[in-house]
Symmetry: C2
Subunit: 284 residues, 2 copies
């Protein structure tokens, strides 16, 4: 597998959540696998953007001729960790026709009337697409656990239900990449503060963000339980240090590129006779 030139080591290896991982052991300021500074990072994001766009077009082209493969990128994080920035700065490189983005909010009454995977399943990406979940079914074992929105035995059941659900997606052709953007508590204070300081950012802030922030340690434990129970071979978790936005964006971009390169895609062969169609076209 080739690699964009600026990675010194394979970030997929460096970032994968290992059994027993503790978030306190991952430095949110670090930038594993890559030397360089913010300004380099921005140039490199542009290099990767072209690669990613081309690979997604190949994936899409193959889907038109029956290939069932697709990507699902799951983004989870504490508020202000940069999920929106990943969507804006990484996914915008890809033809909008090839991206299927779903932002999961607090469930509606109708959604609560169904199993927690009902709305998730409906949003899973079609063949040839890169699906992106901005929040996901993992909220149901994160806020679900921290806020005790469901009894403990239901939370336990959900981990297994999630693994089963994801196995089904993989069997259907999906490559699943699960990313937790890892920021520090201080960094979050700074970012929320910046939203409060700028009138053009006020709309991004919600007083509830501070309520959640006060449960910081509980959320960190809930994430660790998620890694422990749902980081599988088929659908691994990656913990991406995200205090430096440029690093988080490059890392997620790379995970997508690596997944697509692993598919060894070629332009699909025409399922019609090219010469015959050229002749038809000439007289049409």
């Amino acid at each position: 597998m080739t690699r964009e030139t600026y990675w010194r080591e394979d970030p997929a290896e460096l970032l994968r959540a290992r059994p027993g991982i503790r978030l306190t052991e991952v430095d949110p300021d670090s930038h594993p696998g890559i030397r360089g500074s913010k300004s380099d990072g921005e140039e490199e994001l542009v290099e990767g953007a072209g690669i990613l766009a081309d690979l997604q077009e190949l994936l899409f082209a193959n889907s038109r001729l029956g290939d069932r493969r697709r990507i699902l990128l799951v983004l989870q994080a504490m508020d202000s960790a940069g999920k929106g920035g990943i969507v804006k700065h990484v996914m915008s490189a890809v033809d909008p026709s090839g991206v299927q983005l779903t932002s999961f909010k607090k469930p509606t009454e109708e959604e609560l009337g169904h199993d927690f995977l009902w709305r998730i399943s409906k949003a899973s990406p079609g063949p040839g697409m890169i699906g992106v979940f901005d929040r996901s079914h993992y909220e149901d074992v994160l806020i679900g656990r921290v806020r005790e929105l469901a009894p403990p035995e239901e939370i336990q059941r959900r981990y297994e239900a999630i693994n089963e659900f994801e196995r089904g997606l993989v069997a259907g052709g999906a490559t699943i990449i699960k990313v937790m953007l890892h920021i520090s508590r201080d960094e979050q204070r700074k970012r929320l503060g910046a939203r409060l300081d700028r009138p053009d950012k006020h709309w991004k802030f919600n007083p509830g963000d501070i309520d959640e922030r006060e449960l910081w340690d509980d959320y960190q434990r809930a994430y660790e339980a998620v890694f422990e129970r749902t980081s599988t071979l088929e659908a691994p978790w990656y913990v991406v240090p995200a205090n430096r936005k440029w690093y988080a964006r490059l890392a997620v971009q790379h995970l997508l590129i690596e997944a697509l390169e692993g598919m060894a895609l070629e332009w699909p062969k025409a399922d019609y006779d090219v010469v015959e169609q050229q002749a038809r076209l000439a007289v049409s």
Copy 2:
């Protein structure tokens, strides 16, 4: 209303489908309202991209505080006229979180079991979004009419049903922009030929494209009937000359910018006490 600097006349005025419009009277090679060449067009697209992205963020920000406004861009055209290029080159400027794109294919069995507006209605954009329909309910009075997929009286009924449906969207906060990308028959031959000549473009070609092409004049008449019956004050049609891709992209980009500028959007006021939240954050 301000205008990007390169337009000499308002393209919205120049391109709007007037009563009695005949497609033979619109030159697909022309570039109304703008001097300049392909290379200028590309620079100008970049200028407009930033403007469009900023305006969409404003629209989205307001929706978070209850504003119901949204945009719906409807794209219709003969094959290879450049719908996909508009999505790729114009819409990619906007944060993917703010775009809701739906590509309508041949209806499924389930969709055919419902009224033709069923699947359309489900895909209409939420507040703060720019919805894009790549093909739309207009297929049901275009291919529907040309291929006689429904009896003539049903086609007649649909024009009125469409107007009624669109009035409802407008009442709900939508600004509707309907675009027909207008290419010449010769230009289509050239473009389909290019797809056949390049193995990396074979997947974009379908022998059925030539079958449709052979009904060119019928389609042109069906489009004229669409303009006649459904170009309303609330939801006008624009006929965009599209033999020059750079022009069509600039024109559609401008129609979006003009619609957003017409909303006179400002950053929404916070619905919480900023100073109080700053104090809470400081001790959290």
